[in-house]
């Protein structure tokens, strides 16, 4: 029984993976109804996560990819946020998830592994949902919410981004400091050589301006793309001065500058937010 455990020891063994099947199932239930345990698990998971880098990559069989894409196409975009974001100001997501009471969770016992695991995250999801809905709602124009979320997943790590070999027209980039702070979402139409930037959670430092830069090997130095406001999008800004290779391969960076922008025409300091482009809306075959 996991009740014999100290919370932090239980969280440690869960995150480490050494609990047996029934203990794991119990923890899955308890974490859904005990915030202390949930927080402890997440913290230890995060502390140990760098070990993931030590696990050697192994290429999965190639047929899995096509099978998965087929499965996904069949499922459709059942993104919770995509469907819930329309319920403005309502109680998004609580209709189906919230209907399950913690007591019912416990009564279901531990034998039904997958169901238990699915249900176990319900409370966390509800708790975090409202914030997420408002955060991601900003992203919906021109890009579906799920695509934006997936794009976000990729964009949070520059190193995971693959430069597309095909010739897609629309790209998005999340400009951010780190995974905690997506600041601006940038959409680029490479065909028209135009971009739009929307603030996500950027807060402008008092008495300063945000300035956007394009950085690419083929340009001698970062080139200014103008100022960004934290409360209004800039739409259809021209990139006609740059070729498509630079536009699609560039790093986009935001610096903090004196009001009105850098006086020298070059960034005054290190970027506070950066991002690269990810294609969306690609046509396949």
């Amino acid at each position: 029984m996991t009740r014999d455990y100290d919370i932090s020891d239980l969280a440690a063994e869960y995150a480490l993976g050494t609990l047996d099947a029934s203990e794991r199932a119990e923890v899955e239930i308890r974490r859904a109804i005990e915030p202390d345990l949930a927080v402890a698990i997440t913290a230890i998971e995060r502390d140990l996560a760098p070990l993931i880098a030590l696990v050697p990559d192994v290429q999965p069989p190639t047929n899995i990819r096509s099978r998965l894409l087929g499965t996904i196409a069949g499922l459709g975009s059942r993104s919770p946020v995509a469907s819930k974001s329309t319920a403005d100001g309502g109680e998004p997501g609580t209709a189906n998830i919230g209907a399950i009471r913690p007591s019912e969770l416990l009564n279901r016992g531990v034998g039904d592994g997958d169901t238990v695991i699915e249900l176990a995250h319900a409370r966390d999801e509800i708790a975090a949902l409202r914030g997420r809905v408002s955060r991601w709602r900003v992203l919906t124009a021109g890009v579906s919410t799920l695509a934006a979320s997936l794009a976000g997943l990729v964009m949070y790590r520059d190193t995971l981004v693959r430069v597309p070999e095909a010739a897609p027209q629309t790209f998005v980039a999340v400009l951010q400091k780190d995974a905690q702070s997506p600041a601006f979402l940038m959409t680029v139409d490479v065909g028209k050589r135009q971009f739009t930037v929307r603030p996500v959670s950027a807060k402008q430092p008092a008495g300063k301006s945000y300035e956007l830069w394009i950085i690419h090997d083929t340009l001698n130095a970062p080139k200014s793309l103008g100022l960004l406001a934290d409360n209004a999008p800039r739409a259809s800004v021209s990139l006609a001065a740059f070729d498509t290779r630079a536009i699609s391969g560039a790093t986009y960076a935001v610096t903090v500058e004196p009001p009105g922008g850098s006086p020298t025409g070059a960034p005054s300091g290190a970027p506070v937010f950066v991002g690269k482009l990810l294609p969306v809306g690609l046509k396949a075959d």
């Binding site: 990819r65 919770p80 976000g152």
Partner: protein, 170 residues
């Protein structure tokens, strides 16, 4: 002619960027390709369904995805004890000084810090933690491997994690 939606395209990109890592994690724990294939697919379907739930405040996306993969693989391996630790004796070498397979520059600093803290543990206890995390070793397997009762292993694991966490906390 098939037209992929933006969602599907983004998913394919995500898959290409992360599947080798997740498959490596799952295969190492399950040690059976047929099972690993199945679990990998389940994990990506889960990621697809939950993509909009990803909360950047809780860590990086690869951590989130790897955690889903690890937990799913661990559930599977605990429910049916498929393999024993003797199948992968090389597992003990993972914490050695060989160059780390790091493509992710961003994590290098995290890995370095964690390795430093791991190296402050008694070597046996460090190996236990690494074996448990990377290979999904159970307490019983660790008990066999290291020749100590399960209760002792348990206590050591608790202490090791507590020590690691205090070493990691700024």
């Amino acid at each position: 002619m098939r037209v992929a939606t933006a969602d599907q395209q983004a998913f394919a990109t995500l898959y290409d960027a992360t599947s080798a890592k997740l498959y490596g994690i799952i295969l190492r724990i399950l040690r059976r390709r047929d099972l690993a294939d199945e679990i990998l697919q389940e994990v990506y379907v889960k990621i697809w369904e939950r993509a909009a739930d990803f909360d950047p405040g809780r860590g990086s996306p690869i951590t989130w995805m790897a955690t889903i993969a690890r937990n799913r693989a661990l559930d599977e391996v605990r429910r049916h004890s498929h393999a024993s630790i003797e199948d992968t004796p090389e597992a003990l070498n993972v914490a050695s000084d060989e160059p780390l397979p790091l493509q992710l520059a961003e994590t290098a600093e995290d890995v370095r810090r964690l390795k430093e803290c791991l190296d402050k543990l008694d070597p046996k206890r460090r190996d236990m933690v690494v074996l448990a995390y990377m290979n999904g070793a159970s307490r019983e397997e660790l008990s066999q491997q290291f020749g100590h009762p399960v209760a002792t292993i348990k206590t050591w694991l608790h202490r090791s994690i507590a020590q690691l966490r205090s070493c990691l906390s700024p």
